[in-house]
Amino acid sequence: MTALVEPTRTVPDDGSPTAPSRPWWRSALARSAPIAAAVAGIVVIWYAVSYLVLSPSQRFLLPPPHEAFGVALGNPRIAGPMFEALGRSAAVALVGLVVAVVLGIAYAVVMSQSSWAERILYPYAVILQTIPILALVPLIGIWLGYAFTARVVVCVIIALFPMISNTLFGLQSASRDAHDVLTLNRATRWQRLVKLQLPAAVPAIFTGLRNAAGLSVIGVIVADFYFQQGDPGIGGLLRLYTTKLQMEALFTAITLTALFGVLVFSAFALADRLVVGRRYGR
């Protein structure tokens, strides 16, 4: 668990006496430097493959970034629908995430209240996790249609398990001594939950949130990809561009999808650092 959480005290030791009091934007910059370097690396490799590996006749397989983005974003008839689709997908992913978070925490809280509840309810979560989502997607389409609701359901199914398992782990992480302190002071079940178990679970809940957020983005792409009917999401466009061999649009759409995933992940990593880092000393 903790391995997934980056240390908070990452102020670089550059020997300058003002290092700890540097403005927040500079430390934010210092922290985002590695990811920026990675993006630059990808762009360099992309160009290298386009120009050095592929012959001009093959270059359509991987057009260089400026051409891909130029063609797709420069043409409003491609860029317009693409951003609309991205917006639709983002809305589905966020609603799916919120539903998964609420359901996952509630499910874990119920399980944490007795070992019986855990023994009865946990298998359902495991089964949900082990059924390949692709086996369920067509069925969801038949039952719920191919629009917003069905797509949200796909996101929820994919994102739910890490919320449940991380929250449950967190709720059970308080020490026996801490539980004894509450028992000796005649804490009610509710007091034990809100004053001990839930606060103790906060770091684990944030770990679950980051995983669930990433999975929710994957979920919406999968749903879009399979549910071709109705307004297309970004995943639907990926399929469309592939069948029509619109390589520039395809690469632009893939890049936008990746950026959206990185954005969601970063937002939750930041929230994690702010909440868990401050109050829990991680």
Binding site: S175, A178, D180, L184, N185, K195, P199
Partner: protein
């Protein structure tokens, strides 16, 4: 009597007998230590006294409305400041906000942590965390305080300081507790207590009882007097006799 054990036996479901026919009592304003080898059921004694666990046979009688328990681990809630950790007791017991704040502040002052009320546990040293734990135990003004090797994990210097601190708290005019203190350390037991009980290992039995007549408060250099050495010698002999037997 604040606490009475009458012929108490505790067997666990696994078949081990943790305590065998243990009888003891702790009077008001007495401080009784129990020394014994590891795994002799000393902690079980406290769990029974606190009601966290029940005896297999015999009776445990507690005549204290307010009881508190100090664990070897400070068992603080890491997301709460020192003050809010101490306030927890009042929150659980429905003490009004203003009142429990005042009491928490007073309890922290009692253990010498006035200036650290807003610090979180991770910002405090091991000794200071244990002081917060003591403050949390004393904030309800208990009539009986149970200590389960609270200083066992501290370094020697901090440990001696905490012993002085605890005997000062015991003798302080604004505390009113009787103590039952579990320890491995013979000198800690003698320094803190009005009476020392020596326990045998597996199953736990009380094999000797030694009165410690020194008045409270006790200066730190009491530990270097001949009388102190004589008493620790007697406790050690009782322990050694038990280990040999």
């Amino acid at each position: 009597m604040t606490l009475i054990f009458d012929a108490v036996t505790k067997r666990f479901a696994t078949g081990t007998t943790a305590l065998d026919d243990v009888s003891l009592d702790v009077g008001p304003r007495e401080f009784v230590s129990v020394v014994g080898p590891s795994g002799c059921g000393k902690s079980t004694l406290l769990r029974l006294a606190s009601g966290l666990d029940v005896a297999s046979s015999g009776t445990v009688r507690v005549d204290a409305e307010r009881l508190s328990y100090v664990f070897q681990d400070p068992a603080l809630l890491e997301w709460r400041s020192a003050a809010r950790n101490v306030e927890l007791v009042g929150e659980l017991r429905g003490v009004e906000k203003q009142e429990r704040r005042l009491r928490a502040r007073a309890a922290l002052a009692l253990v010498g942590l006035e200036g650290f009320a807003q610090q979180h546990p991770r910002q405090l040293s091991g000794g200071m965390r244990m002081r917060v734990s003591l403050a949390r135990a004393l904030v309800s003004d208990p009539q009986l305080a149970l200590f389960d090797e609270p200083f066992g994990a501290l370094d020697e210097i901090t440990r001696l300081q905490m012993q002085s601190e605890l005997q000062r708290l015991f003798a302080a005019p604004d505390t009113h507790f009787a103590g039952l203190f579990i320890t491995h350390s013979v000198s800690e037991a003698v320094y803190l207590s009005t009476r020392v009980l020596v326990m045998s290992g597996r199953p736990g039995r009380i094999v000797d009882e030694i009165d410690v007549p020194f008045a409270h408060p006790r200066p730190p250099d009491l530990r270097h007097t001949a009388e102190f050495a004589e008493l620790t010698g007697r406790v050690s002999a009782a322990l050694a006799g038990e280990v040999a037997a």
